[in-house]
Amino acid sequence: MTTPSPQRTETFPCGLGADGLGEVTRQIPADEPPPLPPNSQLEVIGKPIARHNGRAKVTGAIRFTVDVTLPGLLHGRILRSAMPHAIIRSIDTSLAARHPGVRALVLVARPGDALSATVRYVGAPVAALAAESAAAAEEALRLIRVQYDPLPFVVELDRARAPSAPLVHDSVSVPRGHASGFPAPPDLPLHGNVRGPATLQRGDSAQGFAQADVVLEGEYRTQVQTHCCLEPHAIVADWGSEGLTVYISTQFTSGVRHELAEAFGLPLSRVRVVVDGMGGGFGSKSMLGNYGRLAVVLSRQAQAPVRIALDRQEEQIDSGNRPATWQRLRIGARNDGSLTAIALRSYGTAGVALGAGVGNVADALYRCPNVDTAQYDVFINAGPGCAMRGPGNVPGAWGMEQAIDELAERLVLDPLLLRDRIDASPVRREERRIGAERVDWRRRHAPGADAGVVKRGLGMAQSLWGANVQINAACEVRALRDGSVEVLSSVQDIGTGVGTVLAQVVAEVLGLRPEAITVRIGDTEFPAGPPSYGSRTTASITPPARTAAWQVLQSLLREAALALEVAPDALMAREGRIIVRGEPSRGMAFRDATALLRTDCVSAVASRSDDYGGFRRRMGDAAIAQQDLGGVQFAAVAVDTETGIVRVERVVAVQDCGRPLNPRQIESQVHGGVLMGLSFALFEERIIDQQTGRMVNPNLEQYRLAGCRETPQIEVVLLENYQGRSATDAYGIAEPSNIATAPAIANAVYNAIGVRVRSLPLTPGAILGALGKLRAGA
């Protein structure tokens, strides 16, 4: 630890924008800028600025990883297991190795070595090769002969829990869990395929249930959802004598650099990771991945750059997925609604991997003194799950937010009124109020009361997500002699627009337009930025950007002050000029000030300081802010009771993310969150054939995503929530906007038809079944 830096005291605006703001006093590091006023008093921050690279995207000029071409580039392909569980007895690569154009070949499964030679899911990598053309690589792949000794397998959650089920892992292969506690803590007991429980206890739940007037019980299921990034995973690995350069579609350039250095025994200084354009990640591009590692191995072997780009089938079976879950909730409440006890038991499966819990919704969304949760991971012979937009809390909210609605009905309370009584968050209270007004909640009818074949319904649900921050996040700002300005960080834009908000933050400090700022990101040659997962990018990187810009400005003001013969603190930057406060006619153009520089460039690098007032929790490079992120969504649906088709007609999403920096981009991200949640609720499902263990819909035809005609009217209401926690006071939006959608739709469907569907997705078959309309042959 370094010695504490000098601090100073500042007063920040505080509270919800709509309420009329209060103030809060915080100690802040002395080298950080003064408080930002509310957005209404700012020029650039909080304005709906267009994406800095929007034009490049729509004209195709932006460079994605598959667009990277290097001299002598080879094409890598991965041979994948055809069996869900087997020991590989032999691999004959002789024909493949001799195939014209093949330059490198590596075995992932090494026959004779029990650990590597056992494949545990269809699609697990078995071998990889690189060739001079994609066609040659594909032809060579088909020449590899693999002999499997099949083992019994299990691909279904409930069956895998049975004591007699085939074992997916042995004591050597079983994953150990993550020391951070997310997604699954280490060292939990393993019985058969069931690992856990991870538990949380508060108070005395037995006593809590004894005090309850009403006890509600429900079981809820969620299916496997795949990430379906528009841009598949791709890497170009270039192993050279000077070191390793990797172009990769990634959510974390800096993290991949660390992974590569460790895996290949290289100093960090010899590893460079680059990404430019990206078509989404949603959690599936957080790490190097097995394909990435193979590309580097092949490049090292061939001494040539190697590209591996996954096809859609590989995306669906081996690039991660949102685990399937089953959970049982018991909730005890008094007649006035106050909760006396919550008990949760969950079993989820992330295939051969860990991390299939249901998050902290059950224990943290509502006030309850007595809580008892137990969450288990179950292994099956299917591709590994990984984090996906709101991991844990998406299935968690699917259960809890329906259970709370069911409880409200039992207590004969309006669902909003019950939440007003048990939800301590003033932010969500305001969000409920705004949403209810928008959708005219008072006109909501009783469940199933709509006459006619197509029944309409209205529902809502709430979101809970921690406000994550990466401490290991740095940013450089440079002002050059000609007046141009750069902002640099290894942070990557995965499609959310962080480059644009960086330009806004720097422009606001320097009194420039955001278009005047050159954004240079997505390259580990620049100061190490945060990962773009856990909704933490904006919260982590914009405060150091503002601090660095402010420090650069102080240098410029000192030069200008000498020329203008005033004190530096009498000056300010505004509208492209450095001017004397209160005397705007006295000053100079910004570029005249930079022309005074002794060197070509003045630069400052700043890193993320702790939140002002401290974090709630700190875990290595990551931390969680004091206040959570909320979000309340309302859905209006129409259910055709004869066909079972559910159509979502309207979603009102009332969201918060601290200080909104760019409402246009935030709205766009909320649209994405709502659509992903809607698609999860109605359509998406990985379907595995029980006889062969193979996914039967590994494409985007039979794995259905919501399309344009399934898109409802989406209205985003964005709160300004000022807490004075950092130089920008901004937090994330990606995950909170995805958590409430599915349960809001489910609650609306219940309101429409008067029958509750507790399993996802809400297909016509599921709806007709719930309505009692299924029968055997006519």
Partner: protein, 346 residues
């Protein structure tokens, strides 16, 4: 990514040339295809190429030659015939079919089906002939890993497997559903297919007889032979007072296959139903004629009550599988709605 095997591109200038070059059908070539070796020595006809390229990219088919039909004159014509019927060339795109004034005014059920298929991009390329001859979408059939009955294997994986999108009628020994919604409408309209060979002989076959049940032969969906080319579809003239509709219900409205589609053609005179055709699509390996439903309608004034009975009768003989019994209430509703839409159209 899957890389297609190399093939030769053969242009055909006449129907005879094309038929002579068509040395195999897609169905035959797929049974022969092993996936590992090089291309099969066969020439396959290519119309829009939507389904063909799918099959080739998935390595389910690797013909040595593709025979391009686009340069053959006359295959894109839509012509009124002397008997009052309409002759539609097999290379007419679904987009053009759906917008054609004669089709829209005289055979609106066919226009419904054409306009409801796939996506605008696909409708601009896909042809009527290709649509009728496309192979089924069964996910076992479409995956190289499954050597299923329809590809020359021993076993239908769907019957005891993931069969939520499969057939509820005549689903043994193979449970595919026919993929074409245009076929549903055309069978209801009593259309006939024209099949030409290299010697200029033209066979005219009612479309209903053109399709092949899985019981008769699980390796093909139709009777088209090597050396034959579908040149046109002929629609019969329909008496005044004929009402019709085609309805499709997918899980999604955007770019989806039907869970169920229904074509209803009713000939009305003096308020009574003189002729009724009720055809169910996505229900069986061929467009399925709901005979019992037609019997209910014949000779009756079509009231709500009769429509309800017809909807129920349409499911007579259904043998749903483990995961597709939801299709029964769905079809029942669709038959009633198709009838209502046909009558509302006037």
């Amino acid at each position: 990514m899957n890389v297609m095997q190399p093939f030769a591109w053969v242009g055909a200038a006449t129907i005879s040339q094309a038929a002579a070059a068509a040395s195999g059908t897609v169905a035959e070539a797929m049974v022969k295809h092993t996936g590992a070796a090089g291309p099969e020595a066969v020439g396959i006809l290519k119309a829009g190429g939507i389904d063909l390229l799918d099959l080739m990219k998935e390595n389910l088919l690797a013909p040595a030659r593709l025979v391009n039909l686009k340069a053959i004159p006359g295959l894109e014509d839509i012509v009124s015939e002397a008997d009052g019927g309409l002759r539609i060339g097999s290379m007419v795109t679904l987009a053009r079919l759906g917008e054609h004034p004669e089709v829209r005014s005289r055979y609106p059920a066919l226009a419904d089906a054409a306009r409801g298929a796939a996506s605008p991009q696909i409708r601009n390329v896909a042809t009527l002939g290709g649509n009728l001859l496309q192979r089924p979408r069964c996910w076992y059939f479409r995956a190289q890993e499954y050597r299923c009955l329809r590809k020359g294997g021993e076993h239908c994986f769907a019957i005891s497997g993931e069969n939520q999108y499969h057939a509820i009628f005549a689903n043994r020994p193979c449970a595919i559903v026919h993929a074409s919604t245009a076929a549903t409408a055309l069978v209801a309209l009593g259309a006939a297919a024209e099949l030409a060979d290299a010697h200029g002989a033209v066979q005219r076959l009612p479309l209903e007889e053109f399709f092949v049940s899985s019981q008769r032969d699980p390796q093909r969906e139709n009777v088209l032979q090597a050396g034959q080319i579908m040149t046109a579809i002929r629609l019969p003239p329909l008496p005044a007072g004929t009402r019709m509709a085609h309805l499709k219900q997918g899980e999604r409205d955007s770019f989806d296959w039907p869970l169920a589609d229904v074509a209803v053609v009713l000939e009305l005179a003096d308020g009574l139903c003189r002729r009724a055709a009720v055809i169910l699509g996505a229900a069986a390996p061929v467009p399925h004629r709901a005979k019992a439903a037609e019997q209910v309608l014949l000779g009756k004034a079509i009231t709500e009550q009769i429509a309800l009975q017809a909807g129920q009768a349409a499911l007579e003989g259904a043998t749903p599988l483990g995961k597709n019994s939801y299709k029964l209430p769905l079809f029942e509703a669709m038959v009633r709605r198709a009838r209502a839409r046909a009558l509302a159209r006037g």
